[in-house]
Amino acid sequence: MVSLLGIPPQVLFGQLLLGLINGSFYALLSLGLAVIFGMLNVINFAHGALYMVGAFVAWLLLTYAGIGYWGALVVAPVVVGLLGIALEKTMLSRLYKLDHLYGLLLTFGLALILEGAFRHQYGVSGQPYPIPAALQGGQNLGFMFLPNYRGWVVVASLVICFGTWFAIERTKLGAYLRAATENPTLVQAFGINVPVMVSLTYGFGVALAGLAGVLAAPIYQVSPLMGTNLIIIVFAVVVIGGMGSILGAIVTGLGLGLLEGLTKVFYPEASNIVVFVVMAIVLLIKPAGLFGRER
């Protein structure tokens, strides 16, 4: 048997795949956070809760409406996005003139409410969500076995990440967005409705979280707690990548997922904290994060 550094290749690649999948979720979630932070200057503490809501909407659609995975993939992000727009319109928009910390505190409260409500209703035990028929089974790649659904998750999130990056960095709409981030008053003076743009940005950012929730539903159990612990890692990813940096969010998310996978192979005890260790090191060397700008 061939082995790399004393580790059987199946184990190594298996963990790397797991890392890549986790990394995809980190990237999707931190991408949404970065978009929201860039435009609203709000750290969206409710992001993990909305990711959980996305997964639950998929599960509810299947259980009560008979709408399957592909339908949920469209409906759940829209539902979460609309919920986000409603929250932004009624609550967040009142806080923009204040210290940005209030946005963080408000969304923290919202996260408590959402998670508490779902936990009250559905308990802490997870609900299973089946893998869609078209993506069952897997491929034998010779050196490892790749379940189709996991491959799909990686590809789908890469496409979404790249698409978002492209839309923001390379299109006219994205140019408006970036301009409004720099100087909202001026952009408004050019006749662009900045408040609507802000609402839509928040809606889009949390819709990404909802989408990640649907993608996650068949892999992890649909549970009220699924967002709670993930979100802190995602915060760390955002800090390492540089807050508000789209590219930083994507690259760091995937990279840290892989690093976590590798740590699981070589030193499993540290796999939970490796992300935070990296964060501490990066901050000591480069306080603005890897892709962030000093301000």
């Binding site: 940005h100 408000l106 901050l283």
Partner: protein, 322 residues
């Protein structure tokens, strides 16, 4: 130099007498309270009140929102529980160890986080405290999900038997009063004035020649130590150190206590802690989900009552000098 400090003292004297009176009345009430209310409940309130006051020293007087204070609170609880139970140290030595370890953790956190401000600072402290959470989950001495149970309360200074509820209560009250007095002294010292200057306008404080990073770091270490003292005390009171106290939800809870009572007021965190603990113990006997109610209070506070209860009251009171 003397003139300057004299004149500030005169300026401070007016409101200080009123505050002293309030403090004296509160202290009398606290001394009598265990004869009316359940001592364990009161001790819980006092532990959280000290924790919230320590947290408020940062957010209220230095403008630093730490979202990782549970790491000091819960981490110190583990330290106190371990040295008292496994090493057989006296309770006062356990509390001292808890305070020192929390202070050292605060130094490490501070050194990493202090260079960033506002949201960045909050995020970094949050992530660092999550690291402490995972350590608490995995290190052998914390016993994972079980926590350290059955911590003996022991004899304080070899004299006072803390297993008596009333003795324990007065010990906790003394610890709280000492911590509160230290915070009071800090806030009203020249050091506290510099912190306020940093909170109001950091670039100006820098241009006046203050090395603001050092001031903030000292404040952070002090706050972390006091949070640790609170956590260690809680471990002795409940004879238990568990994961609950290290979770990020606990960091959020102390933010809520401070916000609800009034950030930047001396008594606000005490009031906030009392209300939240009362509310939680009340809700526990109802069918209402606690986090939802707490979350709603949070949202309402942020949207409508940003000054908190004590802050609102003080703003409504006429004729305040500053």
């Amino acid at each position: 130099m003397t003139v300057a400090s004299n004149s500030t003292r005169v300026a401070v004297r007016g409101p200080a007498i009123g505050t002293m009176l309030i403090a004296a009345v509160l202290l009398l009430l606290a001394l009598a309270a265990p004869f009316v209310l359940y001592p364990v409940f009161l001790m819980k309130v006092l532990c959280f009140a000290l924790f919230a006051c320590a947290f408020n020293l940062l957010i209220g007087f230095a403008g630093l929102l730490s979202f990782g204070h549970a790491a000091f609170f819960g981490g110190a609880a583990y330290v106190a529980a371990h040295v008292v139970k496994e090493w057989g140290w006296a309770p006062e030595a356990g509390l001292l160890a808890a305070t020192v370890v929390a202070g050292l953790m605060g130094l490490v956190f501070g050194l990493i986080a202090i260079r960033r401000q506002g949201i960045y600072f909050a995020m970094i402290t949050l992530a660092l405290s999550q690291m402490v959470f995972f350590l608490a989950l995995q290190l052998p001495f914390t016993h994972g999900e079980d926590g350290i149970q059955g911590v003996p309360r022991g004899l304080l200074f070899g004299l006072f038997d803390l297993s008596q509820p009333l003795t324990m209560y007065y010990a906790v009250l003394a610890i709280f009063v000492a911590g509160f007095a230290l915070i009071w002294r800090t806030v009203h010292s020249p050091f506290g004035q510099v912190l306020k200057a940093i909170r109001e306008n950091e670039p100006r404080a820098v241009s006046l020649g203050y090395r603001t990073d050092r001031y903030k770091l000292v404040a952070f270490v002090l706050s972390a130590s006091l949070a640790g003292l609170a956590g260690g005390t809680k471990a002795l009171v409940f004879q238990l150190a568990s994961l609950t106290d290290v979770t990020w939800q606990m960091s959020g809870e102390v933010v809520l206590m401070t916000l609800l009572g009034g950030m930047g007021t001396l008594f606000g965190p005490v009031v906030g802690a009392g209300l939240v603990v009362t509310l939680e113990s009340y809700l526990a006997s109802t069918s209402l989900p606690v986090p939802v109610v707490i979350g709603c209070i949070f949202v309402v506070c942020v949207l409508l009552f940003r000054r908190g209860i004590v802050g609102e009251l003080m703003a409504r009171l006429p004729k305040r000098g500053h």
